[in-house]
């Protein structure tokens, strides 16, 4: 991977169908998208549209029923590829490990010396504002702090692609805005490609370079909107007139889909 290629992740004709007691469910697809290396890409869609399924498929946590996903030019198999990090909506910190041990969880099995592990730990603690909590246990932290721990645990692996599945879904509005700022800083600092799944239009509009709008189930990409933000940006862009236009455009696209998702008979 010496010469960076512009396309980092590519999905071609990806579908996901699963069987349950209620019969076959076509959850997702067909989906064709390309993520460019180093971009911040957001996906919004009505609830139950298969956004999270999309993320699971890219992370190789769920196999596609048809179609192909490639990461850095290689088709992905059934294990999470090297260089991919995932942050979930639910609290995924381990309650039996303190913050430092949680963060270095993934490093322990890598051929790294102690000094390197310590260096990465300190960097992640610093970046996430967790310096004073290295010895604390998750139960002693707020929801926002726990999510920082999970993000830090992903960052120390130095992923080239970070997948975030509604990471701020369980947090209050103010905390979300601040975490959004931190996410932008991390994105710039690491140079990683970021895929953010969210149901919050403002979050997508504020953070992403491009926002994909998904349809109600089976989830397809209706449109991809370029936000045109500069790389250096923060949550203050919510006051820019373009922010309102982008959010309005997203809502126009989503409104019909959300009503469909709410309609009786849909699950």
């Amino acid at each position: 991977m010496d010469t960076p290629i512009p396309i980092h992740v590519s999905l071609r004709g990806v579908n996901r169908v699963y069987e349950s007691k209620l019969g076959r469910t076509h959850a997702l697809g067909p989906i064709d998208i390309d993520l460019r290396r180093g971009e911040f890409f957001a996906v919004v869609g009505p609830s139950g549209c298969g956004k999270s399924t999309l993320l699971d498929v890219i992370a190789a946590l769920a196999p596609p029923s048809s179609g192909e996903v490639t990461f850095e030019g290689q088709p992905i198999g059934n294990t999470v590829p090297n260089g991919v990090g995932v942050v979930f909506q639910e609290n995924a910190s381990f309650p039996w490990l303190n913050v430092a041990d949680n963060i270095t969880f993934g490093l322990r099995r890598q051929p790294l010396d102690k000094a390197e592990i310590e260096k990465r730990l300190q960097y992640a603690l610093q970046l996430m504002g967790l310096q004073d909590f290295a010895q604390a246990y998750p139960s002693q932290l707020s929801g926002g702090m726990r999510q920082r721990v999970c993000i830090a645990r992903t960052l120390v692996m130095q992923p080239r692609l970070i997948l975030l599945d509604e990471p701020f879904g369980a947090l209050d509005q103010q905390t979300r805005l601040l975490m959004g700022d931190e996410l932008l800083r991390i994105w710039r600092a690491t140079g990683a490609t970021v895929l953010l799944i969210t149901h919050a239009l403002d979050e997508a509009a504020m953070l992403a370079d491009r926002v994909a709008v998904m349809s109600a189930r089976p989830g397809r990409i209706l449109e991809v909107i370029e936000t045109g933000w500069p790389r250096e940006r923060d949550s203050q862009i919510v006051s820019a007139p373009e922010f309102g236009q982008i959010t309005a455009r997203l809502w126009t696209l989503l409104r019909a889909q959300s009503m469909q998702a709410l309609a009786p008979g849909s699950v």
Partner: protein, 249 residues
């Protein structure tokens, strides 16, 4: 701190009352010797080593029943967690298991296994293992899906996943199972000894009762109470300390 004091009083006051009633012959020594005499009797008994063989026998059998039930219980629980159909089938058995008078099976064990230690150990094991299985199942059931996904994100293999995620997560549940298992192992082994064996503390108590030998019987009963309550309370304390750190009190 006040609670500890009250708890102490709740033990000491009734004992003092008993002591007074016994010393004044309101309770006859044929029914109950004075608590102080029981304690002294137990002390003398331990010093003389009269019942060391019985104590060792009982504790060995309890340890065997307990150890077996923990190993088998965790393994069976983990296996059942995967074998959905068998689990559905056994679920009603687990739900009604402790309503069944297991001691009623003791005569059958005697006939099948003879008069050795096996029937006692088996009764203790049978009582203990189901609580271990049920605790293991509930521990594995409660693993949040997101914690089941996380080891895959970090590319952990099955063995590492169990060692670094599943086991630590389920540990508090397993600990509950261990506490129950040890109590059931005691109840099962001593009960079996009492009913029909010719060794162990349970048997010695029954023998002393049949001979109206209160000076042996009461200290032995006290010994059993002390052992089971001490084991139970220290495990409880350890459990609480572990859980407090995890913030799941």
């Amino acid at each position: 701190m006040r609670i500890v004091l009250y708890r102490l009083l709740a033990v000491v006051l009734p004992l003092a009352l008993l002591e007074i009633l016994c010393r004044n012959q309101i309770i006859k020594p044929l029914t109950l010797p004075a608590p102080s005499r029981i304690v002294l009797g137990l002390w003398a008994m331990i010093e003389n080593g009269t019942f060391n063989a019985a104590i060792v026998k009982t504790l060995t059998n309890v340890a065997l029943a307990f150890g077996l039930s923990v190993v088998v219980g965790i393994a069976a629980g983990a296996a059942l967690h995967r074998a959905r159909l068998l689990r559905t089938l056994l679920e009603p058995l687990f739900a009604t298991y402790y309503a069944i008078p297991i001691y009623a099976f003791y005569p059958l064990f005697l006939i099948v296994f003879g008069l050795g230690d096996a029937p006692q150990v088996l009764i203790g094991f049978m009582l203990a293992v189901v609580s271990m299985i049920v605790s293991t199942l509930s521990g594995l059931d409660s693993l949040p899906p997101v914690l089941a996904k996380t080891p895959r994100v970090f590319q952990l293999g099955p063995v590492e996943t169990i060692r670094r995620v599943t086991l630590p997560y389920a540990a508090p549940y397993l600990f509950t199972g261990v506490k129950l298992a040890i109590a059931y192992a005691f109840i099962g082994v001593i009960g079996a000894e009492f009913i029909m064996s010719s060794t162990g503390l349970g048997y010695e108590i029954r023998f002393a009762y049949d001979n109206l030998d209160n000076n042996v019987m009461y200290p032995l009963i006290l010994l059993i109470l002390l052992i089971s309550v001490t084991v139970n309370m220290s495990l409880d304390r350890w459990d609480r300390a572990l859980q407090a750190r995890r913030g799941r009190v």
